[in-house]
């Protein structure tokens, strides 16, 4: 290779590198951990879709520890990333590190859970699903399906958890519009299949084989799958005798819906990269005030 060619190649490749760094945004993402089914799918989606948006994603899993998240955010600041995404472990204790990010002029975006900071300008916006909306969607579907006349048993999530409180609130708000709709029994199944089965067995006993009950609303699919099992064991026909509606839309409930054992499920998306990245990239190009909460839409899925 002649010297000229080498120089030409060097110029081409170095300009390619410059062009590359100019367009590619480096984003640091501090994730809570990898508990449950939903969160690992969420992490995987964020990592997989990053390249579609030309994002160089630095991913740090905090293993459920706040000190690891603070360490990760500080490391991102030291590294000089273009933006930071945080899915917080706990709501408190963020003021100081968010202040440091602000001083370094790195915008911070929250995904999933909220943070409790006095100065809301420390983060740009929170991008997440709306649990209350999920409850309202389930309630609206049930109202339409039962023509506003339905006695419901409810399988609640873990008592006091945000999804349990808000899904119940949204659902209740919709059925309150219909005088003939009411929740006749409610109990916590702790978001687990065993919990759902146990609660439904109790309901079957206390309501004389679900006599007069038209629907079962579960705060997640796992509990609903347990309930389906309990009903089948009692000789009932879930999906036909009783309308089954739940939240999450995991693969197992898709099978149950296809088999006619369940009727509807509201999707809690794990493929959220397509909602999160455009907001951040758009902000980096054109920084301005955004709403403090950008809601990721929820879809309700039925057999057809």
């Amino acid at each position: 290779m002649s010297l000229k060619k080498i120089i030409a190649a060097a110029i081409v490749s170095s300009s390619a590198i410059i062009a590359g760094t100019a367009s590619a945004q480096t984003i640091g993402f501090s994730q809570v951990g990898s508990e449950g089914d939903w969160r690992p799918a969420f992490s995987a989606n964020m990592q997989e879709t990053a390249s579609d948006y030309g994002v160089d994603l630095k991913f740090a899993n905090a293993q459920g520890k706040q000190e690891e998240q603070l360490r990760a955010v500080r490391a991102f600041i030291a590294q000089g990333v273009d933006a930071i995404i945080i899915a917080p472990v706990v709501v408190t204790g963020w003021d100081q590190v968010l202040q440091e990010a602000k001083e370094a002029e790195i915008p911070v975006f929250l995904v999933d859970r909220d943070v409790d900071v006095e100065d809301k300008s420390l983060y740009v916006t929170r991008i997440s699903a709306d649990f209350n909306l999920e409850g309202r969607l389930a309630g609206a579907w049930l109202a339409a399906e039962s023509l506003g006349d339905c006695k419901i048993v409810e399988l609640q999530g873990t008592t006091g958890s945000a999804p349990a409180i808000e899904r119940n609130g949204g659902f209740q708000a919709v059925i309150d519009q219909f005088p003939a709709m009411e929740i006749v029994a409610t109990q916590s199944g702790d978001f687990t299949t065993e919990g759902g089965k146990r609660v439904m067995e109790a309901f079957i006993k206390s309501t004389n084989n679900l006599e007069g009950i038209c629907a079962s609303f579960a705060h997640n699919d796992n509990m609903q799958l347990g309930a389906i099992q309990a009903m089948k064991e009692a000789g009932l026909n879930p999906g036909e005798d009783v309308l089954m509606v739940s939240v999450d839309y995991v693969p197992a409930i898709m099978d149950a819906i296809a088999a006619g054992d369940a009727n509807a499920s509201v999707e809690l998306r794990s493929a959220v990269g397509e909602f999160i990245y455009p907001v951040i990239l758009d902000y980096l190009e054109n920084p301005r005030e955004l709403d403090k909460w950008i809601v990721i839409p929820s879809d309700l899925h039925t057999a057809n």
Partner: protein, 320 residues
């Protein structure tokens, strides 16, 4: 160089090697900013590990560290919400740490029970008490805490020495003084080297043991105060398994788990090595975080084997 400095030299060499590897691979790694972050982000682990160094030097172990950190944190947060001054709460919690540690030390020596079991009971007891105090994460919103968090000393370059790092360095200097320039310090090494000969040499073993665990309790509580101020909140699950990181920092710092050999200054570098590994993997950004634990584990294995080799070939125990 005296041969007793060999483990410390090995620790510092590993620290520098990891720092240089990071600097060679990633932009902005070999900076005072990263160094300042490592000192601050690991300050509570290092403070707890300093206390654990004394315990381990004496041939014991303290598993109650992480729970103590969590308990101090929730107490500080809840008392703050009741209007207490954070400095007053911190002092109360430090006294509590000393008393709790002393009690553990007394039970260990008086009942002649393995420190492992006694401090394991302490771990459960304190963690349970965390949940009695609060189940939520509680913010600390006192103005003094915000001031404390903003104290810093600039380093050359963009780095800063944050308040938690300053507290850690001061407590390290105090610990070095205690270990190497007091009668109590010599007694700790003597008990760890050989308990019976220490007794025959006139060391009051019971009083020293109580003091060792009281000192450990003090440093754990101080780590809890620093952690609570660092996150400006209390969370009942905070600090879980942190005692294991502290023990790892002590061992990486060149202190022998069997007692009698080691230096407090090594613990600083042991803790910083752990922090450096995490930072390196975060800078990489595509490695699974499991690699933090795997590489820390491999390094620990290597150090334990190396210590074994150094002790048998240089007779470090006799060197004291």
């Amino acid at each position: 160089m005296s041969k007793k400095y060999l483990p410390l030299a090995a620790t510092i060499a590993v620290f520098l090697a990891i720092f240089l590897i990071g600097g060679a691979n990633y932009n902005n790694f070999l900076t005072t900013r990263v160094l300042g972050n490592i000192l601050a982000d690991n300050s509570f682990i290092i403070i707890a590990a300093i206390g654990a160094t004394f315990v381990i030097l004496s041939g014991g172990i303290d598993l109650s560290i992480g729970s103590m950190i969590g308990f101090v944190g929730v107490c500080m947060a809840v008392l703050d919400s009741m209007g207490w001054n954070p400095v007053a709460t911190a002092l109360v919690m430090l006294v509590f740490g000393i008393l709790f540690g002393a009690l553990q030390g007394y039970i260990i020596d008086f009942c002649n029970i393995q420190p492992f079991i006694v401090t394991l009971a302490g771990l459960f007891l304190l963690r349970g008490m965390c949940f009695m105090v609060t189940l939520d994460s509680v913010p600390i919103r006192h103005d003094w805490v915000a001031d404390y968090a903003s104290w810093k000393i600039g380093l050359p370059g963009k780095g800063v020495l944050r308040s938690s790092a300053i507290v850690m360095l001061v407590s390290l200097v105090v610990a070095i003084y205690i270990a190497h320039f007091t009668r109590f310090g010599s007694a700790v090494y003597a008990i760890g080297g050989d308990r019976e000969s220490a007794r025959l040499m006139g060391v009051n073993v019971r009083r020293t043991t109580v003091k060792i665990y009281a000192l450990g309790g003090f440093y754990s509580a101080l780590a809890g105060v620093v952690y609570a101020l660092y996150t400006s909140s209390g969370y009942p699950l905070a600090g879980s398994t942190l005692e294991l990181s502290a023990i790892a920092a002590v061992v990486l710092g060149g202190t022998l788990l069997t007692g009698g050999v080691g230096m407090v200054a090594g613990t600083l570098f042991g803790g910083m090595i752990l922090g450096l590994i995490s930072t390196l993997i975060i800078f990489n950004g595509s490695l699974n975080s499991a690699w933090i634990l795997i590489s820390s584990g491999v390094l620990l294995f290597a150090f334990i084997v190396m210590h074994r080799f150094l002790v048998s070939s240089f007779d470090l125990k006799g060197a004291k």
